[in-house]
């Protein structure tokens, strides 16, 4: 038995992954993001909430012996043996510039900013790649048909990671299209929730100013202490 193998017996079970072509031995229980950090990568761009909500850590990978190209959020996906991966910290896709207050929700308001939607080939590559399991093609089609409400509903879980836009043969920025649909739907087709109005009023009346000032005056250690000791119990009700 060689030295290295004895050493391994006591360590966590590991898998071999390839990050941008170079091999790394990492514990099998890690997520892709943690595995990259374990392997020594410092992630400056391409990580955010680390909880699957911000969509900053889009990653593409292949598995050993499998021709398919997979995509996932690095913070939500466990490593597998033989995985070959790279992160896509940023997706270049132009955003339409619009003023939501003057834009009206008509059948053509999405095509006006994203005419490339009309190039959709219905290949469904976008839905297959989506880490949120959204039927991306369906909401693109709804946008083409001018059914903004349906497009907004179907795209609701989108975290704007942009992986769909990378896979699209028609070069559509689906995630921006969904965002516009949700903005239009939210602004014009739905009523504003009362709780939101209440909270806006509270902010405008300065209800939280004292709390913010208190936090801003704290030292780094003081902030850390407050963070670790925080609880989510409603102070008023408790």
């Amino acid at each position: 038995m060689s030295k290295t193998e004895t050493k391994k017996e006591n360590a966590l079970p590991t898998v071999k992954i390839y990050i941008m072509g170079s091999a790394h031995e990492v514990p099998e229980s890690l997520t892709i993001m943690k595995a990259m950090e374990y392997a020594g990568f410092k992630i400056k761009r391409g990580a955010g909430c680390r909880a699957g909500f911000c969509g900053a850590c889009g990653t593409v990978y292949r598995k050993a012996g499998d021709y398919r190209l997979y995509a996932a959020l690095a913070c939500q996906t466990q490593v597998e043996d033989g995985m070959v991966l790279t992160q896509l910290p940023f997706i270049p896709a132009p955003k339409g510039i619009y003023d939501i207050d003057t834009l009206q929700p008509t059948e053509s308001s999405i095509l006006r900013y994203y005419p490339e939607v009309a190039r959709c080939l219905s290949c469904n590559a976008c839905s297959k790649v989506c880490p949120q399991d959204i039927q991306v093609m369906d909401f693109v089609q709804y946008s083409l048909q001018g059914q903004i409400d349906k497009a907004a509903e179907v795209s609701f879980d989108c975290v704007q990671c942009g992986l769909c836009a990378i896979r699209c043969p028609a070069e559509i920025p689906q995630y921006h299209v969904g965002m516009l649909a949700r903005r239009l739907h939210g602004k014009y087709n739905t009523s504003t929730p009362e709780t939101l109005l209440e909270r806006v009023e509270e902010i405008e009346n300065g209800t939280f100013e004292q709390g913010f000032e208190e936090l801003l005056s704290l030292s780094k250690d003081g902030l850390k202490k407050r963070y670790t000791e925080r609880d989510f119990v409603d102070q008023k009700k408790a």
Partner: protein, 136 residues
């Protein structure tokens, strides 16, 4: 009067074969009766008629074929295809010339430069059809 020599080299043959491959039609089926151009409702707007284009393809004259506006004026109404006495899908040959161009330069129409006002009023059916024909 100047004469033009007809060349029949590798380049000419390859262009013709590529058009045949994309369209799936035998270009030499055409016997130049001109029925396609006679029935074409866009002939007056083309700088070379449809049967002339086909002759150029037979001769493999790539530059001349691609520089004409014929295939971009064609609206795929398919009248030529249903009337051809040699059963050639003439419109498919026009489509093949378009595709040949688009496979190298994918944008005959610059979508991002279309004015917002135009996009607003156009029906989606026109955009879908146009982009399918004019972008690759």
């Amino acid at each position: 009067m100047s004469y033009e020599y007809i060349k029949f080299g590798k380049e000419e043959r390859e262009f013709r074969q590529k058009i045949e491959e994309i369209s799936g039609e035998n270009i030499f089926s055409c016997y130049q009766c001109g029925k396609c151009s006679a029935g074409c409702m866009f002939s007056d707007k083309m700088d070379r008629t449809v049967n002339q284009q086909i002759l150029r393809i037979q001769l493999g004259q790539k530059e001349k074929v691609l520089s004409a506006n014929t295939h971009w004026v064609c609206a795929s109404c398919l009248t030529c295809s249903v009337r051809c006495p040699r059963d050639i899908d003439v419109a498919a040959i026009m489509e093949a010339i378009r595709e040949y161009t688009l496979r190298e330069e994918p944008e005959k129409i610059k979508i991002s430069e279309l004015p917002k006002k135009v996009l607003e009023k156009l029906p989606n059916i026109a955009l879908v059809a146009n982009f399918r024909k004019k972008t690759g």
